[in-house]
């Protein structure tokens, strides 16, 4: 089976954000593989181990993203591809990313493409379905279970807390929801092996993409932090009197009940 995983390098979830000059500051921040993409990588490895084939992880970014690709290789992916857009693309949106990924994937005859259902930075959740539409293959988002039996793919997906059971077939793009699996940590031998696994670097030229083709459709005008909350009130006294004070505050002051 020919399996591809779309991954994104993101800020660590425990990072606090600093905005200056209208941009999020990246200096000194820890970066990780987008947590939802880790589920996708784990599932890809599991499917490959059960059905044979090869797992290729693909990302768009600059050289910094090599670290996350090596981590995916250490988890067990076979090959990695970095589409380096540093010199060619100034502003990228979901249209841009999906176009580039689809151009890369269009002649790869992928049976299964996996991605995270959302990236924890931009949070749009668009790129997976957009890529599937451009490749004209089916997609299923927010999956929590995947079983491949011959031509049939049985999936459970999370729809706002409920579990939807469905059937479809390959080729297919799926996006991973939390609960799909428990991503493995790279083992020491895995990390050693990853150093020798192929990591291909491509630029837009290699994919015959013109810069104009991938110009972002949307524009970010401003980035800002939410207003600091004023320090709240810690109630005092015996618990029962705190509770009745709280109820009256919620009704009269906050007016939410």
């Amino acid at each position: 089976m020919n399996i591809y995983v779309l991954v994104k390098r993101t800020f660590d979830t425990e990072e606090k954000l600093v905005v200056s000059g209208g941009q999020i500051q990246e200096d000194g921040a820890e970066f990780i593989i987008n947590p939802y993409d880790e589920y996708a990588i784990e599932e890809a490895i599991t499917v490959r181990d059960a059905h044979g084939g090869e797992v290729t992880v693909v990302t768009i970014g600059d050289e910094e993203a090599e670290k996350q690709l090596r981590t995916a290789l250490a988890m067990g992916a076979d090959k990695a591809v970095l589409i380096n857009t540093e010199d060619d693309v100034e502003e990228m949106d979901q249209f841009t990313a999906a176009y580039i990924l689809a151009e890369y994937l269009k002649d790869k005859e992928a049976d299964l493409i996996l991605a995270g259902n959302v990236a924890i930075d931009g949070g749009s959740g668009q790129v997976g379905p957009r890529v599937a539409d451009l490749l004209d293959i089916n997609y299923v988002t927010t999956i929590t279970s995947l079983e491949i039996e011959g031509e049939t793919v049985k999936i459970v997906r999370d729809i706002e807390g409920d579990a939807e059971e469905l059937e479809t077939s390959l080729p297919l793009l799926v996006t991973a929801q939390q609960g799909l699996n428990e991503p493995r940590y790279p083992s020491l031998p895995g990390i050693m092996k990853a150093k020798k696994k192929p990591l291909e670097e491509l630029e837009l030229d290699d994919l015959d993409i013109e810069e104009d083709d991938v110009e972002a459709k949307t524009e970010t005008i401003e980035v800002y932090l939410p207003p600091k909350k004023q320090a709240g009130r810690i109630l005092e006294g015996e618990i029962p009197s705190q509770v009745s004070e709280l109820v009256s505050l919620l009704r009269s002051e906050a007016k939410v009940i």
Binding site: V140, G161, A163, E165, E219, P240, V243
Partner: protein, 322 residues
């Protein structure tokens, strides 16, 4: 220039969802005095048309087909694109719901346009409309607009944009017949896991438990309070990882991002990743034994105490006054 705006109306358990009325209000702003046309897709949905008009739609188009009984991106995609072809809208608004999230990228891809998803506020009107959306799960916000001419396409996060006042109005409800073929996904079954039908993303009140809940059973007093207030129960990653509850309840940067009117955090310490998912709630109450817990920093009201003492008392107190 005024715009014609299409809005996807959604139903859940036999009723229109609030987010659809919120989407109409958003569409009104974007339209700048133009026409707002609501679209309903399903097996039998025309009965809901007038209600969308009452909440501000100028007219309604329904597409009814047995293949639209359950949502599939193929079925809904074909139906919605048929409406787009007929109406040639200048803007589109969906709710940022399971259906909206799944369908909007496909439609945006087909229209070769940008999609601004998970919008929580709109500044300006008509051509000047600028959209505000959380990034990093609410740790920051961005203002975004469409760069060039094209269809303005947004999804709106439930609970953030106020719906218009309901009033009796008249508007045309017409049907469009669409041939729906070649569905690549077959829906077999839906297993209900969400309690009492109150969805976390749309809940006005959320009672969330953390590690301090200590067990599956520990969520029971929280559920009781949630039921009383017509709310939903949520959880921190700690509680989910400890298997006290299902991952579908998880609130945080991994998990759901919620903005209810009232968020009661019980036995939650307040990891950064959890706070990203709830700190934009309108009013936050923290209940924790540890007075140093981080959660008190974002709380409007705090009670230092054991949640198993406080929550049942709170339920009793609310019963008295409601």
């Amino acid at each position: 220039m005024s715009k014609k705006v299409l809005v996807l109306g959604e139903t859940r358990e036999g009723a229109l969802r609030n987010v659809s009325f919120e989407a109409i209000a958003a569409a009104k702003k974007i339209s700048g005095g133009g026409e707002v046309v609501a679209v309903l897709l399903g097996e039998a949905v025309s009965e809901f048309g007038n209600e969308l008009v009452a909440y501000g739609a100028d007219r309604v188009i329904t597409v009814e087909h047995p293949h639209l009984k359950s949502y599939t991106s193929d079925g809904y995609g074909q139906a919605f694109m048929a409406v787009v072809d007929q109406e040639q809208p200048e803007a589109i608004v969906f709710g940022h719901t399971a259906v909206g999230k799944d369908l909007s990228p496909k439609i945006a891809s087909k229209l070769k346009t940008g999609l601004i998803s998970d919008v929580t506020d709109i500044e300006g009107e008509g051509d000047d409309a600028v959209f505000i959306r959380p990034i990093y799960s609410g740790k920051a916000f961005e203002k975004v607009k469409l760069k060039e001419d094209g269809v303005v396409f947004i999804t709106v996060r439930p609970n953030n944009i106020a719906p218009l006042e309901r009033e009796e109005r008249s508007g045309d409800v017409s049907s469009l017949s669409v041939d729906i073929t070649n569905l690549r996904t077959i829906i077999k079954n839906v297993v209900r896991k969400s309690a009492e039908g109150v969805d976390l993303s749309e809940a006005k009140v959320i009672i969330a438990g953390g590690r301090g809940v200590k067990s599956k059973e520990g969520f029971e007093p929280l559920q009781e309070l949630a039921d009383l207030l017509g709310g939903a129960v949520g959880a921190s990653r700690g509680a989910c990882d400890a298997d006290y509850c299902d991952y579908s309840l998880q609130i945080g940067q991994t998990g759901k991002v919620v903005t209810p009117d009232l968020y009661i955090a019980a036995g939650i310490s307040g990891a950064i990743q959890h706070m990203a998912g709830m700190s934009n709630s309108k009013v936050i109450v923290a209940i924790n034994k540890d007075p140093e817990a981080n959660i008190f920093k974002v709380a409007d009201y705090g009670i230092v105490g054991d949640l198993f003492d406080v929550i049942p008392l709170l339920t009793e107190e609310f019963k008295k006054v409601m």
